[in-house]
Symmetry: C2
Subunit: 91 residues, 2 copies
């Protein structure tokens, strides 16, 4: 579906491999129209807390970018995930 294609990046066959090792979170909402109600910067802190609850990463591996347009504000959080270790189950 469209979300998957976006994150895979149709034009770059290798990008699925890249995406596998990352967690990407994007939030978009109305921009200046919602004057005085720009909650994205505050929300960012809470979202990072949730991410770090599930992913044990070095904060230096987290990339946060925000953009504010006239009609749209976006927040992107990209986390480089640690390598998956093979887990051997006893028994």
């Amino acid at each position: 579906m469209s979300w998957l294609n976006f994150f895979r990046g149709k034009a770059e066959p290798a990008s699925a491999d890249i995406a596998r090792d990352r967690l990407t979170m994007i939030v978009a909402t109305g921009g200046n129209r919602r004057n005085g109600d720009d909650f994205l910067p505050r929300m960012q802190k809470d979202l990072m807390e949730v991410v770090l609850r599930y992913v044990n990463v070095d904060p230096s591996k987290v990339k946060i970018s925000t953009e504010r347009g006239a009609d749209l504000s976006t927040l992107a959080i990209e986390v480089e995930l640690p390598p998956v270790k093979e887990v051997r189950r006893a028994g």
Copy 2:
């Protein structure tokens, strides 16, 4: 930039207007490769809590969709925001 263009939808000039009245959150991460570590369903609950902390919406206005692929899992949360009211400031 690319995020903005994605949410605006280059092909549909009207979609910026639509996006203004919504909050969209997308999370993507490695799929089956991270066996036994599929935290997206659990994360979904926590993310919804954060969203509802900032946006006062009817739960029926929230649309959640998940997709699980061989290499990528995605979670999309779309919230229809209530109309912005003109706020008159006293003084």
